[in-house]
Structure formats: structure tokens, C-alpha cells
């Protein structure tokens, strides 16, 4: 028998988020958590499990069902020196609290000439695939990424989730921390295996604004984020069997977008495919592709392509929803077309 491998501690994203928040609350008394069902229940997506028992109801607060009230309150708390972490249970609910987010939080630092910051984290679930219909399944990456003054991040695995959460809480400006339901580690939603990773118990940061090359290759660049990263990795594995070396980039950060890492990869491969599960038009794919096409130094071997959610509200029926959702198979088909386009 070979020597035993080092012992890992594998946890899902939800646990990694809760651990990061707990660690920061233990060292920084100005950190507090608010949201619907985040205290007693520990968050419907498990993001705050155990925090109420450790820190008590003063710092871990269940709120009434009014995002307008508690997210507005968080902006005020942040202005007065606290570091609130608030949960918008589904990103789809942003409508009633968007004024507090993009007119107040995002602009606080700018409007005060840098004198008043807004160190708040808004964590929110994104994504569908489990038949929860058009008001509980959207991603809205581009909606938030489009508005200046906020950082917007989404982890694809538990290691990044913990480091990103610690970075987000310590950031002096508002950070929208999106997490994908298909990666949370909540059994009833199904969990993509690759998102459950070894997570150090120590304190560490995953810097906001840096993308990661999660698989190296020289023929094609696949760019994605969140759950799409795992579809990209699956497709890259299948492509390798055909002799195509695909590089996979995990954006991690929607805003700011790490254009350099994308361009450096496409400079090497000359081919680009973007996959995400937000609506297609004006989306992540459009922004990534534009960032590459704008670069005069880059020579492309094939027109860049994107796969995203079609511009329709999310259907309820699972059959219809899965028909329109991006997946590794669609990615693979598109990747093969790009490779055939070779001049």
C-alpha cells in the first residue's frame, strides 16, 4: 500500500461562507449579520449556520420580510462604523431594495469625497435548475456588474468562497457576494462535486478582482464563473480526449473584471468561448468578448462565441428549464464548432 495522502478537510461552499463570517466576527466586533431566516435557521442556503449560537441575537439578527428595511439599515450601519453582512435570500428580490444598494451603498464613498465608506457585504443566492421558476432562479450577474461603486464576486468552490468572504468583509466598500445554489452543498438542491474542496482552517484571502486559470491549455480559452466553471472543466476534459487543449478561466470577480488574465489566455489560444447562466443580451459573455476584441494586439483564429441563458423569463417546468439552461454538452458542441472554424 502506498503512503497515505495528506488528510484534507472537505467542506461545501455554504460551510466555508459561515466559517469565514464566524472567524471575522470572532476577531472584529463591528461585524454583524442580518437577514431573513439567517439566525435560528442558519440561512435557507446554510450560509450562517451556527452563528447565532456563537454570537447571540444582538449580532446575528433575523429580520422581517422587508429587504427595503434591513438592507437600507445595513447601509446606515456601514456608514456609522459597523460591518454588516446581510443576506438577500434570492437575487431575484433585488427590486425592493435596489435604491439602498445602487443609489446609497454604491455611491456613499464617492458622494462623501471618500470620507464615509460603506463596508457592507450583501450575500445573495443565484441560479436555477431545480424548478423554482422565474422569480427564484435568475443570476443577474450583469445587472449588478453594470453598476459602478460595487464589487461583485461569485465563488465556484469552497476554498475561494472562504477567502473571498474574508476579503469582502474587510473591503471598505460594498461587495455583492453571489453564491450559486447548485454549488452550496444543500442536499435538496443537488451539489456539483467539484465545488466541495479542501478548505484551510486558517485565515486567508482570495483577492477580489483576480481571475484564476483553473485548467491550462493552448488551443481554446473557456471563460466562466460560478457553476459554469464546472461545466467548462467537464467540457475541457471531454475535449482533451479529442486532442484539444482547452484552458479554463474562473472569473471569480464580475466587477472589477480581470481583463488581463482573459487577454493573456486568448493571446496564447486565439480562440474564446464564454459560458454563463445569466441572460444573454448585454451579459458577461458580451463584456468578456468585447474586452478581447478591443485589444488590437490580439489575433483571433476564430470568432469568439458565447453561451448564456436565452432572453426569456425562467420557465417553471423542469423539462423546459433544462432545455434552455447552459450545460457542458452545449459548451462542447460550441467548442467543436470553434475548433473547426480554424483557418
Amino acid at each position: 500500500m502506498s503512503s497515505p495522502e495528506p488528510v484534507m478537510r472537505k467542506i461545501p461552499i455554504a460551510k466555508a461562507m459561515a466559517e469565514a463570517i464566524g472567524q471575522e466576527m470572532a476577531t472584529d466586533p463591528s461585524v454583524l449579520v442580518m437577514g431573513e431566516d439567517i439566525a435560528k435557521l442558519g440561512g435557507v442556503f446554510g450560509t450562517t449556520t451556527g452563528l447565532l449560537d456563537r454570537f447571540g441575537p444582538e449580532r446575528v439578527r433575523d429580520t422581517p420580510i422587508s429587504e427595503t428595511a434591513f438592507i437600507g439599515a445595513a447601509v446606515g450601519l456601514a456608514a456609522s462604523g459597523m460591518k454588516p453582512v446581510v443576506e438577500l435570500m434570492f437575487v431575484d428580490f433585488f427590486g425592493v431594495c435596489m435604491d439602498a444598494i445602487y443609489n446609497l451603498a454604491a455611491k456613499q464613498c464617492y458622494f462623501s469625497g471618500g470620507q464615509v465608506t460603506c463596508p457592507m457585504v450583501l450575500m445573495t443566492s443565484v441560479g436555477g435548475g431545480y424548478g423554482d421558476a422565474g422569480q427564484h432562479s435568475q443570476c443577474l450577474y450583469a445587472t449588478f456588474g453594470h453598476l459602478p461603486g460595487m464589487k461583485v464576486v461569485i465563488p465556484s468552490n469552497a476554498y475561494d468562497a472562504k477567502g473571498l468572504m474574508l476579503a469582502a468583509i474587510r473591503d471598505p466598500n460594498p461587495v455583492i457576494f453571489m453564491y450559486h445554489k447548485a454549488l452550496q452543498g444543500m442536499g435538496w438542491l443537488g451539489t456539483v462535486k467539484g465545488s466541495i474542496t479542501d478548505v484551510p482552517e486558517d485565515d486567508y484571502i482570495v483577492p477580489i478582482g483576480k481571475a484564476k486559470v483553473v485548467r491550462e491549455g493552448s488551443d481554446l480559452t473557456i471563460v466562466s464563473l460560478g457553476a459554469g466553471v464546472h461545466q467548462g472543466l467537464d467540457a475541457a476534459k471531454a475535449l482533451a480526449a479529442d486532442g484539444v487543449k482547452a484552458e479554463v478561466i474562473d472569473l471569480i470577480s464580475i466587477a472589477p473584471l480581470d481583463r488581463e488574465t482573459i487577454r493573456a489566455s486568448v493571446a496564447k489560444t486565439g480562440r474564446l468561448l464564454v459560458i454563463d447562466d445569466d441572460y444573454l443580451s448585454y451579459g458577461i459573455g458580451a463584456e468578456v468578448i468585447a474586452s478581447v476584441c478591443e485589444d488590437r494586439a490580439l489575433k483571433l483564429k476564430a470568432p469568439p462565441r458565447r453561451i448564456a441563458y436565452p432572453d426569456i423569463p425562467v420557465p417553471f417546468t423542469p423539462v423546459m428549464e433544462h432545455y434552455v439552461l447552459p450545460n457542458a454538452e452545449k459548451l462542447l458542441g460550441e467548442a467543436k464548432l470553434i475548433m473547426e472554424t480554424n483557418a
Partner: protein, 76 residues
């Protein structure tokens, strides 16, 4: 060799329990007390911890129905 048993007495016998997910792969080294799997009962989840340190041998697949007290794997 230590058997990994599904917890008993945490849910009604009439409820259906399934393995939600294994957090480790077959053959991984695990430490005693680490959460190694999640048991889903209706929409609640229960953590299954490693009864010993060693190499994990998964016996019951994800999504498969399990009963309280059932052996779902071993640690060697």
C-alpha cells in the same frame, strides 16, 4: 475496519432518508469526526461524521435511499 452507520433516532421511521452527498471520494483519507456525508430527510439535512480515521470506502451511492442504522460505508 469500522462500519459507517446512518444515525438513528433523529427522524421519523416513516420519513424517507437519502444520501444527499458524500463530501469525500472513495479512497480519500478522512479524520475521525470529520463530516463525510450529508443525509437528506425531506428538506432537512443531517451530517454523517467519520467514526474513525483512515481510508474511506463508500458503500451507498448518492441519491440512494438509506435506513437509520444502515451501514453505508467503511473506514479502514
Amino acid at each position: 475496519m469500522t462500519d459507517i452507520l446512518v444515525q438513528t433516532g433523529l427522524w421519523e421511521d416513516t420519513d424517507t432518508a437519502v444520501i444527499g452527498s458524500w463530501l469525500y471520494s472513495d479512497g480519500d483519507v478522512v479524520q475521525a469526526g470529520a463530516v463525510i456525508a450529508e443525509i437528506m430527510v425531506e428538506k432537512s439535512s443531517f451530517e454523517l461524521t467519520a467514526p474513525a480515521s483512515g481510508i474511506l470506502h463508500i458503500g451507498a451511492a448518492e441519491e440512494s435511499e438509506v435506513a437509520a442504522g444502515q451501514v453505508v460505508g467503511r473506514i479502514s
